[in-house]
Amino acid sequence: MQGNVDIRVRGVVKKYGNRAGNAVDHIDLDVRSGEFLGLLGPNGAGKTSLISIITGVRSASAGSVLIKDHDVANVPDVVHECIGFVPQNIALYEMLTARENLSFFGKLHGMGALKIRQRSDHLLERAGLLARSHERVGTWSGGMQRRLNLITALLHEPGIVFLDEPTVGIDIQSRTAIWVLLEEINKAGTTIVYTSHHLEEAARLCSRVVIMDQGRIVGEVTDTKGQGGTERLEAVFLGLTGMEYRDH
């Protein structure tokens, strides 16, 4: 491993109300600068809860999260300046156009109008959305919305990007476009943490895959790229998490 630690998670626990057991159960995790980390696991493994705690969307029941040495719980605004988050849902205003959405979220990051316009043009072009950027997002296809969902998180050029299942329910073209974009920003030095159920996607994109089950980290795979990577990942995944259904 090389580079500084961008994300340091220590002893993080998340318990929801009266639900039995912990959704996230004493997790320790380091993510280094420039890494492309995949969080994989069956349904209910705690992937989304963990990513929500790291990004400050949810508070932890116990433990700490440092991002670039800043405590998420204590100085959220400092942390939020340097991260981008792509939620699992299409987190956009359907009644607004793509540009209006980008403008709104850019302003929340304190960006000026000119900067927003320049970054929007670049990202919309890059995602193949420029021609329809003045249309309301609600009129778009799922794939287009997913691509906009992604580039909205990249608008302020964050050093760390979190993605929660960013390619759910879209066609191969849009999925490939998202992969290429993610590979591109990762190569440029952006640290990426992402959750998915798609093993072949994780095998292609990730430099390291952490496997979670029942709120804990149960294993880690680093050599997924190259021939047979998906099969190796699948074997490890099923070996660690078993074949039982996770009907919570």
Partner: protein
């Protein structure tokens, strides 16, 4: 921070402009409500000032009582009298049926012989009086009594019945007094041997002079009528009804993941809530402008009185509108912060506003409610809002008089906003 609040304001207004249903809810619904309710409530507000009580009248006596009672009713104002005296086809049963079925609210029958009773009774009283003066030992005969029959439609409210009795009694009392004065004049002529001018009381010696303790315009006073009540009332209702849209938008943001995205961005719940409150405050001011314009320009076309704004203090009107808008929008964010589904926010938001408006004197003025309801109503923000508008529009109130209504509205705003911010901080990061 300011730029983020401005971004939230701009976003809220853009979303609203694109939401046709929301625009209809915020602007079209109150315009319809104020027009319909002002027309519906016009008659009750006019009370008995216009000719609106339909009276079926028949004189079976043919004497002075029937003639003068008819004149008295026609002169009184609120009565529209249909005289069927001499109509042989109208039997007692038909007469009663026309009132019972509501064709007329009141049926008045002057029975045969009433004038004779009046003459005899007056004569007895006056002769008795003058007998005492002359030292006669003869005791005056007891005066007779007779009744004018007043038949009332069973659905007519009590106030109408009392008005009717008072009016008929006033005419009959005047008639009795006139007759006695006439008899006394005759007796005086007999005593003195001189021809005297007959005495007649045209008007009571002491009368009532009524005036409004409020805004005076060119000698007339601005008083509560259907327009003056309904325009501010439905403005307040419209502002508070924006809770449905505000709370719905907040829940939608949480459901869609937009809230999750915003939670990973700089800025907190206070900025999000402040942006929303300010955006909807602008909406509230625009609602008030529209509904007041309806009161000035549209309601007169519908045959209603125009909203009278000639002598009001515009600064105070703006102040009241801002205070009411702030209270309404803060209530909206409070409901939004605690609602977990859009359905919940819509049902609770709309129902609570309808209940609060009924209690707060929006539908009907608070002063006509029972005491217990009045006490409850006086504790609602919609009533403080109504009283604040009344203070500016009708009572010619100054700031000191406005303050007792503005203060609770501002406290209500502060509490709702603070609780909403606290709740959003807690619930969004659970």
């Amino acid at each position: 921070m300011t730029s983020r609040i401005l971004a939230h304001i701009q976003k809220e207004l853009l979303l609203l402009l694109r939401d046709r249903g929301g625009l209809a809810l915020l602007y079209l619904m109150p315009v319809c409500l104020v027009s319909i309710m002002a027309v519906v409530q016009d008659a009750p507000f006019k009370d008995f000032s216009d000719k609106q009580v339909l009276v079926l009248y028949r004189d079976l006596d043919g004497g002075v009582v029937g003639k003068q009672l008819l004149e008295g009713l026609n002169d009184a104002g609120p009565f529209m009298v249909t005289d069927i005296t001499g109509d042989a086809g109208t039997t007692d049963a038909i007469f009663q049926e026309r009132v019972r079925t509501g064709e007329f609210q009141v049926g008045i029958t002057v029975p045969s012989g009433v004038s004779e009773v009046l003459v005899k009774s007056s004569d007895a009283v006056v002769k008795g009086l003058f007998g005492q003066i002359a030292g006669d030992s003869i005791t005056a005969a007891e005066p007779d009594s007779a009744f004018v029959e007043v038949l009332i439609d069973p659905v007519v409210k009590k106030a109408f019945r009392e008005l009717m009795n008072a009016q008929v009694n006033r005419v009959l009392a005047g008639l009795s007094a006139d007759r006695m004065l006439q008899d006394m004049t005759t007796q005086m002529e007999n005593l003195t041997g001189n021809d005297l001018e007959p005495l007649r009381i045209q008007e009571p010696f002491i009368r009532v002079k009524q005036r409004m303790a409020g805004i005076e315009l060119s000698g007339t006073h601005v008083a509560a009528d259907s327009t003056q009540h309904n325009v501010p009332a439905w403005t307040i209702f419209a502002m508070f009804f924006s809770v449905v849209l505000m709370a719905g938008n907040m829940v939608k943001e949480r459901d869609s993941g937009i809230m999750a995205r915003m939670l990973t961005m700089p800025g907190g719940a206070a900025e999000r809530i402040a942006g929303r409150v300010m955006a909807f405050l602008l909406v509230c001011v625009s609602q008030a402008t529209l509904i007041f314009a309806i009161g000035v320009f549209l309601l007169p076309i519908l045959g209603l009185p125009a909203l009278d704004l000639q002598a009001i203090n515009w600064l105070m009107l703006l102040l009241v509108t801002l205070a009411v808008g702030a209270a309404a929008t803060s209530y909206g964010v409070l409901v939004g912060a605690f609602s977990t589904t859009q359905q919940q926010s819509a049902v609770f938001g709309s129902t609570s506003v309808v209940i609060l408006s009924a209690l707060g004197g929006i539908w009907v003025p608070l002063y006509i409610m029972p005491k217990a309801m009045r006490t409850v109503g006086e504790l609602t923000p919609l009533n403080w809002s109504m009283e604040a508008y009344n203070a500016v529009l009708l009572r010619d109130g100054n700031m000191a008089e406005l303050w007792p209504y503005l203060m609770p509205l501002l406290i209500f705003t502060a509490i709702c906003t603070a609780v909403a911010i606290f709740a959003e901080r807690i619930t969004s990061r659970k």
